[in-house]
């Protein structure tokens, strides 16, 4: 990695680790894939593995993560791709995190 993770990335990681008591967290800044300035922290992919997701349908899991990151989402982060699994689901999966779709210009071009 070229530089230390940004402030937003660190904040997101801390929140997901502590509040959701996650067993595994990945916070991937995907801003570079998009039509935004270098070093931006606007597009993220998060992988969260937590027992707290047990019994929750997908949409509730995503809403939980959204609420946790509400402040970030109101201040600059405008794309959030979420992978939310229970530890059991994570173990049973291939643990591969797919890339998000390519940018198509957005508002800029």
């Amino acid at each position: 990695m070229s530089s230390a993770s940004g402030i937003v990335e660190s904040t997101i990681r801390n929140k997901l680790l502590t509040i959701l008591e996650s067993k595994h967290v990945q916070v991937i800044n995907e801003s570079y894939m998009h039509n935004v300035p270098k070093g931006a922290e606007t597009h993220f992919k998060v992988v969260v593995v937590s027992e707290k997701f047990d019994g929750l349908p997908l949409i509730k899991r995503h809403r939980l993560v959204n609420e946790l990151l509400a402040e970030e989402l109101q201040n600059g982060v405008h794309a959030l791709s979420i992978v939310a699994k229970t530890p059991k689901q994570w173990e049973e999966s291939d643990k591969l995190v797919e890339n998000s779709p390519n940018c198509r210009g957005g508002f800029g071009k």
Partner: protein, 146 residues
């Protein structure tokens, strides 16, 4: 009397407008409600189905295409009020947003997972839409039997 009412209403209206400035305007909620209640499947996206302006929106368009789902689409980039309004309406921070039968179902990630798990076919069935993938699968099964 009328002047009094008019003046106090104006003051109230201004306050409402100021407090709403950070959010969408009041009427948009009703507009969105009408759209999602009057159409079985609605996609709020960036761009249009023929020319999506966002990879995540495009992914949803492609999924809809695979299932041959007839849907109503709305471009939030062409309407800033709608862009914020839809986020407030569904209490969901990102675009695209998919509604089936008036209910918010999810964004790109959820649509992708529903497509992969077969859940999307089931949800479409509930609103009377038969997925093209289901039709293709049935045709394949039919051929095998013959």
């Amino acid at each position: 009397m009328n002047t009094l009412v008019r003046r106090s209403f104006q003051a109230f209206n201004t306050t409402l407008k100021i407090s709403c400035r950070a959010f969408s305007e009041a009427g948009i909620n009703d507009k969105i409600e009408k759209i999602v209640k009057n159409n079985k499947v609605v996609v709020f996206m960036k761009g249009v189905p023929d020319a999506p302006r966002c990879g995540f929106s495009n992914a949803v368009v492609q999924i809809m295409r695979m299932h041959a789902v007839p849907y109503e689409s709305h471009d939030v980039l062409s309407d800033e009020n709608l862009r914020q309004g839809i986020k407030d309406y569904s209490n969901w921070p990102t675009i695209p947003q998919v509604f089936i039968n008036g209910e918010f179902v999810g964004g790109c990630d959820i649509m992708l997972q529903m497509h992969q798990s077969g859940e999307l076919i089931e949800e479409l069935k509930k609103v009377g839409i038969k997925s093209a993938l289901l039709t293709a699968e049935e045709a394949k099964q039919g051929e095998k039997k013959n």
